[in-house]
């Protein structure tokens, strides 16, 4: 990517998405300097690894930046010893806000029932990132690994586990329905 193109990307992200990255990083790190570091790191990674996605659709861009900003901030928090152990445990285990997820859509659009709630409860934040990027945006495992800070094999393992969990949940529901008949 040429310097001009890089500057354009940096400008685009600065104008349109800086607030989003900073909001997420600040909520995790609660430190203006580290938040700025996260912003710069996310920006740099985007420029380095996504020159082919310069004109990424807005939804994909927002999803990418949400996942990248949160995972970069968490990694930075760990590296800087910013969060002491008990708080770290707490922040790692806190569930992402799901208020904006359209639960009715699972029934109305896809014909699924309560099994969705069970699956969501069984997934952690990184699993959700992976599903969102893989199925929502069509990313490759390698790309997801880079965004989430996991190895490619860890991404594959999590997808495999999610599938197994889903099959178990579906089987249980089918058995429950058959027993009820």
């Amino acid at each position: 990517m040429s310097t001009d193109a890089r500057n354009k990307v940096a400008e685009l992200i600065e104008q349109k998405y800086s607030r989003l990255i900073q909001h997420i990083a600040q909520e995790i790190l609660k430190d203006a300097c580290l938040t700025e570091d996260v912003y710069q790191e996310v920006l740099m990674k985007f420029i380095l690894f996504h020159e082919d996605k310069f004109e990424m659709p807005p939804r994909e861009m927002k999803n990418y930046l949400c996942a990248a900003a949160r995972n970069t901030a968490l990694t930075m928090a760990k590296k800087n010893g910013r969060i002491i152990s008990a708080e770290q445990e707490e922040i790692d285990s806190r569930v992402l806000n799901m208020d904006l997820l359209d639960m009715e859509a699972f029934h109305d659009r896809y014909g699924f029932g309560p099994e969705v709630q069970e699956l969501l409860a069984a997934l952690d934040n990184k699993d959700k990132d992976i599903l969102c990027l893989k199925y929502g945006e069509g990313y490759e495992d390698r790309e997801i690994a880079e965004i989430t800070g996991l190895s490619e094999s860890a991404v594959r393992k999590r997808i495999y586990r999610a599938k197994l969990q889903m099959q178990t949940i579906l089987l249980n529901h089918e058995r429950g329905e058959n027993d009820g008949e």
Binding site: R19, N63, D102, T168
Partner: protein, 217 residues
């Protein structure tokens, strides 16, 4: 029936991914418009985490008191020492390696299986500091996944209805074995580390693999 479940599971994962993606777009739009939307859900478990931390602190304090106050090595102490060893049974002798004398430079120890069923090949390996893993694959669909991680960060959920389980031993360590048709999962602890292996192999094969695990050279 099995294929049907697999297909449905795939469809549901795709639906979850798609809807999560849409919800994140809504979240991003709201933040970009200046709304203060919390990133994380309301904390329902804050109290319980504090309790756990407090309990851990009490346990740690108790252990420190015991360590500082006792000069006589207890029976538990001896067992702890023994349990920090990896044993590798050879034809002539059994090799014992201690975890304590190894320097892992902030990473979990790297291990490898001494035995694998025929046809399995290593396709990936990673050490992320807190988690070391290896994935072996045979015939594209059969796999064996082995990992080591710090016991503090370990957590796993296994379905009770579809999976049988039994308490067993991997060499000197107590282990939990889960299995169902052609699939099994085993987990045990060595010192501060949890080792687990999941694979598309029957439980007898899984036991052989588990017992052959040793520190990588």
């Amino acid at each position: 029936m099995e294929n049907d479940i697999e297909r449905k599971a795939e469809e549901l994962l795709a639906a979850v991914g798609t809807e999560l993606s849409k919800s994140r777009e809504k979240y991003a739009d709201a933040v970009l418009e200046g709304e203060k939307i919390p990133l994380f859900a309301e904390e329902k478990h804050r109290k319980s985490y504090r309790k756990i931390s407090l309990r851990r602190m009490l346990i740690l304090a108790a252990v420190l008191i015991i360590l500082m106050g006792l000069f006589v090595t207890s029976v538990t102490g001896v067992r702890e020492k023994v349990l920090n060893l990896f044993s590798q049974k050879g034809e002539v002798s059994t090799e014992l390696s201690s975890l304590e004398n190894r320097q892992f430079e902030g990473q979990v120890p790297e291990i490898e299986p001494g035995y694998l069923p025929e046809g399995y090949e290593l396709v990936s390996e990673s050490n992320e500091g807190f988690l070391f893993s290896k994935l072996y694959v045979a015939n594209e669909r059969e796999n064996i996944y082995l990992s080591v991680q710090e016991s503090e960060s370990f957590s796993v959920s296994v379905d009770n209805e579809t999976t049988k389980q039994e308490l067993t031993r991997v060499n000197v360590y107590q282990a939990q074995l889960f299995y169902r048709d052609g699939e099994s999962y085993i987990v045990w602890q060595v010192g501060d580390y949890i080792i687990d292996i999941a694979g598309t192999v029957p439980k007898e094969e899984m036991m052989k693999i588990a017992e052959s695990v040793c520190l990588a050279e």
